[in-house]
Subunit: 287 residues, 2 copies
């Protein structure tokens, strides 16, 4: 019997629990969550087999840390302190530099693997967990060489068994790229939602005139602030850079409109249309 501990029973942790239970028979999934209600809900939904406490972590073969990135940074050293030598601990956070730093000199650094599964939805909490969420999704692993070889093997087998594709990257590159393809999208969506809500005091107008295009661009504005504020904080420099470039592009678009240069606007859009080909390529990844 393998004991898997999931710390944080939200969308990401809960979905790992579901997938692990569906591909392995001989596994017991323990849940740890400071939110007692979430923990009970996770048990009721069958995400976990048993509730557990941090002191039970010595029983763990695998530990999944699926809490906001700021909490991960606080918890990880203590988790590594108590786990056994043959236990592998991995996190799933959307930023990787600071998390790698905080464990860099830990005596059990080799028990840790830094991971970022590119999967999720705008929903959160145990009820948002989805079976099969990780199928065909990319999992970005940072500093793989710092994890003990046997534990690498074990955890990469787990990722592969639930259908993930593995990519290796250094933490700084990860954080720089992910600012563009994920963090910026969330800000653009939140600010779009804000702009429309502020203007349209009469919500009936939004309700009736908005179509699927608006719904799609504003979808990420449903995301959890508890998860996202720490991500923006940890990836501050990169995110500010992407925001500056995004704002400059919007500004330039606005100036073209003010000048009435709609040929240039046509060209801007046509050049950006090649996102079609890029998105076609990533269809395997996206849900």
């Amino acid at each position: 019997m393998t004991n898997v501990f999931v710390i944080g029973l939200g969308l990401i942790g809960g979905s790992f629990a579901l997938d692990i239970k569906s591909v392995y028979e001989d596994v017991e999934v323990y849940g740890i969550d400071t939110d007692e209600e979430h923990l009970s809900q996770a048990l009721d939904l069958g995400l976990i087999d048993k509730k557990a406490q941090p002191k039970d972590l010595e029983k763990a073969d695998t530990v999944i840390v699926a809490v906001p990135v700021s909490t991960s940074m606080k918890l990880l050293p203590g988790i590594l302190d108590v786990v056994r030598d043959d236990t592998v601990v991995f996190d799933v956070g959307s930023t990787k530099s600071l998390i790698c730093e905080v464990v860099a000199d830990h005596p059990k650094r080799r028990n840790f693997l830094a991971a970022h599964p590119i999967a999720g939805t705008e929903f959160s909490g145990p009820s948002a967990a989805l079976k099969g969420l990780y199928k065909n999704k990319v999992n970005i692993i940072c500093e793989v060489e710092k994890t003990a070889f046997k534990l690498q093997e074990k955890v990469l087998k787990l990722f592969t068994d639930i259908g993930m594709r593995i990519r290796y990257m250094d933490p700084a590159s990860h954080d720089r790229h992910i600012a563009y393809v994920s963090h910026l999208s969330h800000i653009s969506s939140f600010m779009l939602g804000k702009t429309v809500i502020e203007k349209e005091k009469n919500e009936r107008d939004i309700f009736d005139m908005a179509g699927s295009g608006f719904e799609s661009t504003v979808r990420l504005a449903k995301s959890s602030p508890a998860m996202w504020a720490p991500i923006f904080e940890q990836n501050k420099a990169n995110v500010i850079e992407t925001l500056e470039e995004y704002i400059a592009n919007l500004q330039q678009f606005k100036e073209l409109m003010q000048k009435g240069d709609f040929n240039a606007i046509y060209n801007e859009m046509e050049n950006t249309n090649r996102i079609k080909e890029i998105l076609k390529g990533m269809n395997v990844t996206a849900s």
Copy 2:
């Protein structure tokens, strides 16, 4: 036998053709398109029964003008010139003020209805036409009182028969509101696509790290420049206003990040989370 003429066999016109053919038996659908290839494709796909020429419009009982808004403005007076007194002509454009102006003094103004079906996808051309696209979607009608009562009745029956819900609005309000819930979304998406493409010269990185969140926010950047450049031109003042507010909100978010005020950032996101409730309300509309 009723003769319906569809001018412009793209996503919107083609989908009207499909829905009309599926709800009415006694109807012949004629297609007009300056793009000979699109016209043939529309025939092959069964969107239309026959190819037609502008001179055939005198046979029309109903005319659907589904071309870019700039083209609609050019074509509409000439279309009204040739149709019969009992023919109804409607457009489907995403801007309504200028189109209403251009026909305001036409002797056949009462044969025209200004409509904006809130439906569509990011795809274009005859092959993008979808049966059932309009089911449960809102159709915004402007200046309904300027259309002959019998023709209102006829065309509103058509909209209702294919499953649409009708809302009435004056053209200026339409253009102001739609700038927020549709036009701005398209710009935010195009500029997001542009920002990421510019930065990520190595497309493999986008390909592998982008998830469904990015795909969702950038989806509208696949849209047709031929359709959208004229919309931005016709709704210039409103769109510039929304862009200024959007840029100001992004700027403020960036400044909060620079100051390191992540509590304020948390609050910004939490306040905007109520988009959840708004989107829940509009689920009927969105595809």
